[in-house]
């Protein structure tokens, strides 16, 4: 099922503050889209609007090219997994899963044995084959999450909406359930929209990432594109640690304000004036004090150990310290001196938060 959102506006109840400010989004059938952004960015509001749980004041919402009037039109076509799962505590897992089938009018309802078979099929799919008779209170967080997913899938929806579904899970379960969900999405041919505030999760699971801020979509791109070409400083920062350096562009050269940073050449298209350079810690390079002219004062570099294939360091600037890291290959690691200069020429440049080079 495809989702087309055009110029959606939703106001906060009883005020003129816009929760969603002219949001347009096109999700083709079969896509796996992640909505990311800080709390209050409007991710969940957008998801709930798509599900029909909330209304909106302006704009259009098309599901498979058609406007959807009431909730009843969407019922059973959309699977929604709530943040805290919203399982029915007084029903067994099997009853929870079969709820969407049990409430059908008698004429449309499958036979009791067909429903039981469907429930077992879903339990097997969720890898919790024996959980059918337990009550939700007795399940672990990961199991509840799977039950919520099974319940949402029981009616065979084509669109799956997930509202921070991994929030309450521990890291190991999160990781395994992530890959498993991705496989499930492909196997069932679903269109999936996932809300998360964890950018790593989004990068790993989704084919497309929609970054939201202040009720607006800031950037909508593939994970690779987003990492390579962040449109704003916010996106750059949101996607991971990004030390930033202020400086001035003049005559095709960016001159950082702080001491210990090497000036670097920038593209001719960058207009002169103040800019902010941002880059990932692993994109910062170090020059020994001997390599460049001695007029630049060197800055102290402090080693902070090795993790995840990188050696981590901190460079002590005049008023702050910035992290950087270099790949840690035992036979081929560059030795870092106790002092040096930072080469930040791989940075993206931003002016007033917008990308300029």
């Amino acid at each position: 099922m495809s989702v087309q959102v055009e110029h959606l506006v939703r106001y906060a109840p009883g005020s003129t503050r816009r929760l969603l400010n002219d949001v347009s989004l096109n999700v083709p059938t079969g896509a796996f889209v992640a909505l990311v952004g800080p709390s209050g960015a409007g991710k969940t509001t957008l998801l709930r609007a798509i599900a029909g749980l909330d209304t909106f004041e302006q704009g259009t919402l098309l599901l498979d090219g058609q406007t959807m009037g009431t909730m009843r039109d969407r019922a059973r076509k959309i699977g929604f997994v709530f943040q805290n799962y919203a399982l029915f505590p007084h029903m067994t897992v099997a009853k929870n899963i079969s709820f969407g089938l049990d409430v059908l009018p008698r004429s449309e309802r499958p036979s009791r044995s067909a429903i039981a078979a469907r429930v077992q099929e879903l339990l097997d799919l969720m890898q919790i084959p024996d959980a059918g008779a337990s009550y939700p209170a007795r399940l672990s967080g990961g199991q509840r999450q799977r039950v919520a997913l099974a319940r949402a899938l029981a009616t065979g929806p084509k669109l799956l909406l997930l509202d921070e579904p991994f929030g309450a899970l521990d890291p190991i379960v999160r990781r395994s359930i992530r890959t498993w969900l991705k496989a499930l999405h492909e196997r069932l041919g679903l269109t999936t929209i996932l809300v998360t505030h964890d950018q790593d999760e989004a990068v790993e699971i989704a084919d497309r990432i929609v970054v939201m801020q202040h009720g607006q979509i800031v950037q909508d791109a593939t994970p690779e594109e987003l990492n390579r070409n962040p449109q704003t400083a916010f996106v750059m920062e949101f996607l991971g640690e990004a030390p930033s350096f202020n400086g001035i562009v003049q005559d095709g050269l960016m001159v950082p304000d702080e001491a210990g940073l090497l000036p670097f050449a920038v593209d001719a298209s960058v207009p002169p004036g103040p800019v902010t350079a941002m880059l990932r810690p692993y994109e910062i390079q170090v020059c020994g004090p001997d390599e460049r002219s001695a007029q630049e004062p060197v800055i102290p570099l402090v080693a902070e150990g090795a993790r995840n294939g990188y050696r981590h360091y901190r460079a002590q600037l005049a008023e702050r310290s910035v992290p950087f890291s270099i790949p840690d290959f035992t036979e081929n690691t560059v030795e870092i001196q106790a002092s040096g200069l930072l080469d930040i020429s791989r940075a993206r440049l931003f002016r007033d938060g917008e990308r300029c080079g």
């Binding site: 943040q83 029915f88 029903m91 009550y135 209170a137």
Partner: protein, 283 residues
Amino acid sequence: MKQAVLSFLRGGGSALPGYRLALGVTLLWTGFFIVLPLCALIIRPWQDGVGAMVAATHDTRMFAALWTSFSSAFLAAVLNVPLGLLLAWALVRGDLPGRKIADALIDLPLALPTAVSGITLATLYGPQGWLGAPLAKLGLVLAYSRTGIVLALMFVGLPFVVRTVEPVLKNLPRDMEEAAVLLGARPWQVVTRVVIAPLLPALVTGFGLAFARGVGEYGSVIFIAGNQPFKSEIAPLLIVVRLQEFDYAGATAIALILLLTSLLALVLVSLVRRRLSVWGEQR
């Protein structure tokens, strides 16, 4: 038992200080205020000899009064369940003006001296009352009958149902209802399957409390009941009547039967509630 005594002597092995003191005070308290009076109530009837007790239980008027009490209390509690649920619903979910005032008014039947509520009800529903007179013209006689008793018991029992259901309803996550709607449930299916079903244990508790209160209610009932023996005489009133006749054996016999039956009823209620709330048990 042995373990409990040993743990008491050792100070409970609990990290919290004052275990022995706290437990001692609690036991003394419950002993004096609950167990001792109940024991007295159980022992007293037999003091005039078994014969007097047996004679007292051969009293058809007593059985009629007990039947009136229990059946009226049961009926009132049953009627209070949907009424209390609606009221709790309106308080929690309804965004009605004056909700806070209504919320405060709910508890009033508990605070009012029961005689006052009794007289008020009698004035309202009596044959010459504001409501009683027009209703009597329609052929509905409320006061001085079993209906009057049920009416009075509903009045005093309602807060129990409202106050037990209200917090549970308040804590019921709204997204459960949203989930049900998205799964295709119709509004009545959402209400019955997703809202009322998890409220059942609370409703049963409220029912039990209202019923227990109804069985023991005296003041608010006697003014509106008519108090005709074998017809609209409640057991607590008969106890007073027997006491005025200096028939202590008779009075305590009624009290004992009242006590045992109430206990049985409350045990049943609690069994039902437990049965209904198996799903809430944690691992």
